[in-house]
Amino acid sequence: MEKVRERVQSFGFPRLLIMAFLCLLIIMMFLLKIPVPLTLSQCIVRIGINMVLSLAMVPGIMAGTGMNFALPLGIECGLIAGMISLETNMTGVPGILAAMMISVPMSIVVGWVYSLLINRVKGSEMMVSTYTGFSVVAIMCIGWLVLPFHNESIVWPIGDGLRTTITLEKWYDRALNRLFAFEIVGVEIPVGLILAVVIFCVLMWLFMRSKTGMMMKAAGANPEFARANGIRVDSMRTLATILSTVLGGIGIIIYAQGFGFYQLYNAPLMMAFPAIAACLIGGATPRRISVFNVVIGTVMFQSLLAIATPVANGLIPEGNLSEVVRTIVSNGIILYALSHMQGGKR
């Protein structure tokens, strides 16, 4: 009995609660006779398109800068790159790859500039990064109004600026999902998307085991000790921030193509929170993370949301119950993680 309690404690009570809730939802799904293959297909897509955004949390936590609340920085870079790809009418999978390519140099520059800030505010990274992210989203709202995009399909017909939501039908709507896609008993398997996600996960896994990755982990775990061993802690933090920003940029492009829309203006404001929540649900803490945590967490969190939507609609047709569930679950798990940082000590 004692052992069980210990297990529960190390696993975390909220995680058990979330798992129980997920099981309940699955049971409800069968009770309400919701078409399982369709829901399962949606689950897979949601997991895939959110995975890279969650993966962006790994370098930051490794290097000790904590959860990267400034993910919107990378997202904005990805969005600009996406807009460039649409402006020049790139289509299909090559269009997506081109958008990613364009986003990377931008993310590197932005990430580097941002790391200058984050290396000067050690100990308060989370708060500063949150509001840096918010500020950048707000200034980019003006950016979307004034940036010189002219393609008729992406700007407002009347007035200034880009549209709030841009559907991707003309360019690369679900192109990656459809690549090599096939169907098993009604469940669509988006092979291209899964491949892309697996590639990024494996790359990150390899990076964590590389020499640089080890040094980064050491810098995060014990900066003093790392410095004594000749590791340049600040460079490690810079590298981590750049990596995280780059992943954010690529992540939003994968997200947008799978979703079918680019959402501009205030849409990226809160995007860091579900990504962080997914990692935490998977067993990561603000100090320790693995690719396994990210994968498990994203699978659990996104299937929870994917199943909650039809179940909630079956129970209460009006209102957005799944959105409320998302708010409570994602912020609840972040609060839990914060309260277990040993009295905020780092």
Partner: protein, 423 residues
């Protein structure tokens, strides 16, 4: 002198920058003085209590209390309860406040306990707590009201009987109920304010003279001179400028709301002179020393958050009665961010805040808020520029203040370490 000047400029960079932004904005907005004065005055009375609610946790070393959102929710629950029983007028506000007192105290207590578990990261915790509480609030009022929680006033429910409508309108008698009790024009209110200031100064000086058995010290009474000079300048302006006088007469000031704000200010000042106040300060300065002095630090911190949450509830009530309605599910969303940005603009920091900074911040911040869209419209023929700009400024002020503070702390630590190594 030059060095002092530089220090002053650096320490008050945000405030000075804001004064400049406001002046440019007012010029660009090109609006009649009466309009701007009226808007600023009404926004000042509307928002000031919410900003004042932030001060006490700053003293306790917990930084900006992002969780005043929870207090705002308590106030909204109070109004929903009062509207449910179809109470209107001042009684509605009184009932709402009575309901929100226990709620906000309980919420504040829980928040304080959570903050004690996340010491050093109170601000991010408070922010996430605000989002989390919004989720719970939505769950209760969107889905449980109607099927689970009985609602007497059917007009508040959506047509299918599940969840509250948005926005919730206060009826004609309740709208501005507190503001409408007693109104005077701004020109009289300012005269009154100057006379009160002078009277308070005189009373303070006389009390000091009696207490210390000393003569009147002409040199030390500069605050009194400033007040008198202010009164004279004001009287001269009123008598010479038609436009100013017209603008002042055009603007109404809600006296009772003003009195409530004054009481809050006096209570906060009084608190700072009590044992509890000095305990709060001690905990904020250095927790370890405070504990060694026998101060129950965790308890003091909880009390500070509870007071802040209660004041936030009062502030949100004043805010909503002035507007006359509130978006049921989103009215509390920006309460924390806007209030905090305003306080920081007034020159406060994560470690220091006082009533003067709150008032100055409210004035400057809301001036910017009014003129930015108008300026955007005049400059680019699109009010959106200004609207996005003011949101950006709001976030940027918080980001810059937090970053500057964190940077100063890191630098101080480094200097201390270097000194230690040398020794």
């Amino acid at each position: 002198m030059g060095r002092q000047m530089k220090k002053f400029l650096i320490n008050n960079a945000v405030t000075i920058l804001f004064v400049i932004i406001c002046i440019i904005g007012i010029i660009l907005a090109n609006q009649p003085l009466s309009y701007i004065l009226g808007e600023i005055s009404s926004r000042l009375f509307r928002n000031l209590t919410l900003i004042l609610a932030l001060i006490i946790p700053v003293w306790a070393g917990m930084g900006m209390n992002f969780s005043i959102v929870v207090g705002a929710m308590a106030a909204e629950i109070g109004i929903i309860a009062a509207t449910n029983f179809s109470i209107s007028g001042v009684a509605c506000m009184a009932v709402a406040f009575l309901v929100s007192i226990p709620l906000s105290l309980v919420f504040g207590n829980l928040t304080g306990r959570l903050f004690n578990k996340t010491r050093g990261q109170e601000m991010i915790t408070g922010m996430i707590l605000g989002f989390f509480a919004k989720g719970i609030y939505d769950l209760v009022f969107m889905f449980l009201c109607g099927p689970v929680i009985p609602i007497k006033n059917k007009a508040m429910l959506l047509t299918n009987g599940i969840g509250l409508i948005t926005p919730i309108d206060l009826n004609q008698e309740t709208k501005k109920a507190i503001n409408n009790i007693w109104k005077v024009t701004l020109d009289k209110a300012l005269y009154f304010l100057f006379f009160v200031l002078i009277a308070v100064q005189i009373v303070l000086i006389v009390r000091k003279m009696v207490k210390n058995q000393e003569k009147f010290q002409w040199k030390k009474a500069y605050k009194l001179y400033a007040s008198i000079a202010g009164l004279i300048v004001y009287a001269v302006i009123c008598h010479t400028s038609e436009t100013v006088l017209f603008a002042l007469r055009f603007t109404d000031v809600p006296v009772v709301t003003g009195i409530i704000i004054a009481i809050v200010c006096v209570l906060i000042t009084y608190l700072s002179r009590t044992k509890l106040g000095s305990d709060i300060n001690a905990v904020g300065q250095n927790r370890a020393i405070a504990i060694s002095m026998g101060i129950p630090a965790d308890k003091v911190r909880i009390i500070a958050v509870m007071m802040s949450t209660l004041l936030a509830a009062l502030g949100q009530l004043i805010f909503i009665q002035d507007i006359g309605n509130f978006a049921t599910y989103t009215a509390h969303e920006n309460v924390g961010t806007f209030s905090i940005a305003a306080l920081l603009v007034g020159g406060a920091s994560i470690k220091k805040a006082n009533i003067g900074q709150a008032i100055l911040g409210a004035l400057l911040f809301h001036t910017m808020f009014i003129v930015a869209p108008l300026a955007g419209k005049n400059l680019f023929d699109n009010a959106q520029y200004g609207e996005y700009f003011r949101v950006f400024v709001c976030y940027a002020v918080i980001a810059i203040s937090l970053a500057l503070h964190a940077w100063k702390q890191v630098m101080a630590k480094r200097v201390a370490e270097e000194a230690e190594e040398e020794a």
